[in-house]
Symmetry: C2
Subunit: 329 residues, 2 copies
């Protein structure tokens, strides 16, 4: 089978590519061909014996989606997006990349199918940003979508389009609302949510980290490994079980910052915890206040999606996958 990954150069895209290459197949079908696209040319994966093409493509440019779809991939991952902060700061760019990009892709698939029968599986990364405060303590599968950011609005619109194009038989779509990824590998970045990962990742490498909020802040998490697992499972899912509601809130772990820190203490000791410095940041405190705290994801769980149950597990996954099994410092 031929898989196209749009947004293959990002953290999720790279991990997904590696995982697909390691698996060698999707739903029993050997992966014979990979097309990896992003705004910068993605790296070719190590150890893949099939045909691989890597290319720079801006999905929001007219014609780019049609060029990607012309080779009729069986499975398409659409992971490309600009993040929440940038979509809020640059209104036009957010709509161009996050909304128009999806529409171009869906239209390219529909038009390819009018030329000759074609209905690929399309796995789309949505976001819990489709929801907006005020929330109940636990957000159920049927909670209404009232996004409070342009990013969340764009993702909610993409979900509606994915449903309608699937209902009309033009594509076989699955949308996955990812929890906040933790522990996100790499350097601390400017994202307001970065501290949830920073306070674990940095101490695990012997470095200091800043905690800008109080320890009773609760949020919703899954490891990078779990996120990749969702995307692999979405490719194999029996989508007749979804009806026309093609997007799912993925399972995750609801935990407080204090619980994160106690897990770090259990796995890496007091020395690691001592590297976390409290530096309250009013801007971040106020933003975090509007974020969801907990979900009930019965629908995704009944469909076989799985996430971690404890932060100890999330930390151990980071040590295995990113630190070669060794706590640093």
């Amino acid at each position: 089978m031929h898989i196209l990954i749009i947004g293959a150069a990002g953290m999720v895209g790279r991990k997904l590519t590696s995982a697909l290459v390691a698996a060698g197949e999707v739903g029993g079908n050997p992966i014979g061909r990979l097309t990896l696209a992003d705004v910068v040319v993605p790296s070719a994966p190590a150890g893949f014996t099939g045909k691989v093409e890597t290319l720079a493509s801006d999905l929001s440019a007219p014609g780019a989606a049609a060029a990607l779809v012309a080779s009729r991939p069986d499975l398409i991952y659409h992971l490309a997006a600009i993040v929440s902060g940038e979509a809020e700061a640059d209104f036009e760019k957010g709509y161009r990349i996050n909304l128009d990009g999806m529409r171009y892709l869906l239209e390219a698939i529909r038009l390819e199918g009018m030329r000759e029968a074609y209905k690929p599986r399309l796995v789309f990364t949505s976001s819990i940003a489709v929801f907006g405060a005020p929330y109940p303590e636990v957000i159920e599968d049927e909670f209404f979508t009232t996004p409070l950011t342009s990013y969340g609005t764009q993702k909610a619109i993409c979900e509606l389009l994915l449903n309608d194009y699937s209902r009309k038989g033009f594509v076989d779509g699955v949308g996955i609302r990812l929890p906040t990824i933790s522990i996100r590998p790499g350097k601390p970045n400017a994202a307001a949510s970065g501290f949830f990962s920073n306070i674990l990742r940095e101490p695990l490498s012997g470095l200091e980290a800043v905690l800008p909020v109080s320890k009773d802040v609760r949020h919703w998490f899954a490891s990078p490994r779990a996120a990749i697992g969702f995307l692999m499972h979405a490719a194999e899912l029996d989508t007749s079980l979804l009806g026309w509601r093609r997007s799912l809130s993925a399972p995750g772990l609801s935990a407080t910052v204090g619980e994160e820190i106690e897990a770090l203490r259990r796995v890496a000791g007091d020395k690691a915890v001592a590297l976390i410095k409290d530096v309250p940041d009013a801007r971040i405190i106020s933003m975090v206040d509007g974020w969801p705290k907990n979900f009930s994801t019965k629908r995704a769980e009944s469909l076989g999606f799985r996430a971690e149950k404890t932060f100890d597990e999330i930390i151990r996954i980071h040590i295995e996958d990113e630190l070669n099994g060794k706590i640093g410092g």
Copy 2:
């Protein structure tokens, strides 16, 4: 004040224009200028002493929205849409008119505001088609939007855009999800929902009407007069009370076909009821099965929106507004 009505040639557009001219003002501001646009040139209203312009404009054509907005109307009604059946049959046309048209309009307003401060009130006619079966017996204000038609998808997307453009301060939006309008004036048409009006309107004029479903079918109604009332009230509403959830399910009347018929009997007698012929239609029976039956509209009611409480009242309004007070036949 200057009012632009897009979709002014339709049934709602014509009645709204007349009602605005009769009122002479909106929220205490005299109406000095009317711009009436539609794909066909709307008629100029009788009895209006201010400036009036009528023009043909296809909102889905690039540049059309900017031309309409260039005169900086204070209040814009966007009523233009192709209906559910047509949007389902012609996928491209539905998205072009119902989605792209709204985006062009919102973008034209935003860009006009970047040239020089501008934030008009925009009243948009949404639809209960943003909801999809299965429904609870009563659809509450916070029920989730899972449309099962392309038309409903397009309206749900427009609602999300209206929220985001309002939140960003580009426009002051209000969306009204209209109930099924009954008694719809004019001739019977091909709309699957037409019979709800036909079985009252035709007998009130001494003509036969066909009933394609059983008498226990329940649905959600408001008169044309109530619908115009919603749109007039939306223009004056204190939108700070809406937060960023700018669309409302309008109040209405939940009634069965049997209740409609008994109201007809009370107002116009057995002779009128005898003109209704049962001709079951499997296609319509199956479609109607997926339509909403009842709503709780506490939010709109608390904001001052009002509809009829009985079908007797709806029938009397039709007799007053369409039949010069006289039952025909």
